[in-house]
């Protein structure tokens, strides 16, 4: 059937609310307004204000309330408008959600799902555009998901809700309008493994989330030049599917990591480190990286585009890795 990333996400929320009455959605403007990115549009009418719960502008307060409700037996889905605003809730995410199971010696787990928009590309400048999922992937106790496809937008939520521990889902803002086909019976998917989105032999392009369409386009262009790239979608940034990363490198002997986060201390750095730690002798070229320029994202379109990973930059990095300079 035809759907969009936004509708797939909404169907996933609707299904969760229908299947389990412990599930509820809460966040800023998720109800009457219909969701700041219209993901929850229409759900208030269907499920009522108790379960589609509008909150005040209190990120720390309602994320903490989600943690408490999870401890109290509910299965909350907390929506934060964008990753930049999640910084106001960082205390609750890090010091409570991620830590309580451990601090309590295994007594209290926190079955909470937090969804938020991430990423740039819409000229929203330096307080609405960052890609901080790599930061969150630094934190033990959290599971970090980055659905990049319609099937993952449709299927990751339910699996996340069944997880006994806190799961953060990062939805890249540029993906919401992506349209396409998914199976009529599309449903839950695994949230542990990376996925090959395009098989190839010449170089591994390793990416996730909003960069996947960019990387797939680059791979098509490379194919036209006779470079057969493999595209690996990480899907889950924590825990990383290290075997899948090492397997693609063992196959192609060359890797380029594409990450919209900044290069320094990023998830791309982690992926690169794991490759060199475990597959150093499989490599025929240094691991390449395409990341965002190290600048708070600018507003002006040409500057924003220049700061972000692009098809051109990915193609260049792939050529470099295979030793072909076009």
């Amino acid at each position: 059937m035809k759907t969009t990333y936004r509708e797939a996400m909404r169907d996933a929320i609707r299904e969760a609310l229908t299947r389990d009455d412990r599930v509820f959605l809460m966040g800023e403007d998720v109800g009457l307004y219909g969701g700041s990115f219209a993901v929850s549009l229409g759900l208030l009418e269907e499920f009522g204000p108790e379960r589609i719960r509008d909150t005040p502008l209190s990120e720390s307060g309602f994320v903490g309330a989600g943690i408490g409700a999870a401890l109290g037996g509910m299965r909350p889905i907390v929506e934060i408008m964008t990753v930049n605003f999640s910084l106001l809730a960082l205390d609750q995410i890090m010091n409570n959600a991620a830590s309580i199971l451990h601090m309590s010696g295994g007594q209290f787990n926190v079955p909470l799902v937090i969804r938020m928009t991430t990423g740039a590309g819409r000229q929203l400048a330096a307080q609405h555009s960052h890609s901080l999922e790599g930061w969150y992937a630094h934190i033990p106790g959290l599971r970090i998901l980055t659905p990049a496809t319609l099937a993952d937008a449709r299927g990751m939520l339910w699996t996340a809700l069944e997880d006994p521990d806190p799961v953060l889902i990062f939805e890249h803002g540029s993906l919401y309008n992506v349209a396409g086909e998914i199976a009529d019976d599309a449903g839950a998917v695994d949230i542990t493994s990376a996925a090959i989105r395009r098989p190839g032999n010449a170089v591994s392009l390793i990416t996730y989330g909003g960069s996947l369409p960019t990387v797939l386009e680059a791979a098509e262009q490379l194919a036209g030049e006779g470079i057969d790239a493999e595209v690996l979608d990480l899907r889950t940034l924590r825990p990383l599917d290290t075997p899948a990363i090492l397997a693609t490198v063992a196959k192609t002997h060359r890797a380029v990591v594409v990450d919209e986060g900044w290069r320094s201390g990023s998830i791309s750095a982690e992926v690169s480190a794991r490759i060199t730690e475990s597959s150093f002798y499989d490599l025929d070229a240094p691991v390449g990286r395409v990341c965002s320029a190290e600048v708070p994202l600018p507003y002006a379109k040409h500057l924003e585009l220049a700061a972000l990973p692009s098809v051109v930059r990915v193609v260049e990095a792939a050529r470099e890795a295979v030793g072909s300079h076009g």
Partner: protein, 331 residues
Amino acid sequence: MNTPRAATPSGAAHGQHLLTQMLRVRRLEEKCVELYSAAKIRGFLHVYIGEEAVAAGIMATLDPEDAVVATYREHGHALLKGVSAGSILAEMYGFQQGCCRGRGGSMHLFDAATRFYGGNAIVAGGLPLAIGLALADKMAGRSRVTVCFFGEGAAAEGEFHESLNLAALWQLPVLFCCENNLYAMGTALSRSESQTDLAVKAAAYEIPAWPVDGMDVLAVEEAARRAVDAVRGGGGPHFLELRTYRFRAHSMYDPERYRDKAEVARWIERDPIDLLRATLEGAGRLSEAEWAKMQRDVDAEVSAAVEFAEAGSVEPVDELLRFVYSEIRSP
């Protein structure tokens, strides 16, 4: 300060129970200080000496299934919610027999069996949790109460304001217990707040709030009963400002440059244990023999707890990575 008299207890047995509860906290805390000096306990240690009437008075009004969220100064709250002194001390020893297997320490006591949700060492960090616990109860139609303890220092944090607002907006069954001991580490309330009347802050969120003499356990209990009954009866959140004082340093590393000894001495004159004891004795409800026995019993409990902790063992290091993710995946 308030009048130096405790209100009249309702019955000898009950009065003695409250006295025992306060004494249990006092003796356990004194033992903690001693064990800290002996380097048996490490990390940060914050004791509750002087403030016992607050936890004792409030816990006396709770049902076992009510939830408690507290701070890093929570040994007494845990004990009076029903966590054993032995498992508390073993936790501080870092032993696997501790209530959190040594993963939490003094500042992070948790206990599922007694619904004790920490042990939160981020000032005001526990308030949002209490909101969520109460929200879950409300959504599930349960008539449980969630009690959230925090210091007056928390009133300067955003999480305090966000939580009070959410509790009132959603009419949640939460009792906020603000333990106003006048200082947040070295910062007096008057040096950190433009409005020092804390009940006024709660009232601004339409939450019924009143101050209570936190050195008088009977007054605390009476106020708590009123508030807990109202919360349980669907009256929405309530807020108590418990005026109290810590007799000891903030933690074990505090030269106490910010307050003078005379002030401390004045408050010690209203030691909550002495106050209730005098009241009970004056009313003929506590004999010398009963007081002696009470002390012996409490000392015996604390000694047994020390013995339990001393006999504990460390968790094998190969278990280091446990409890980061759940070991049992839900169905």
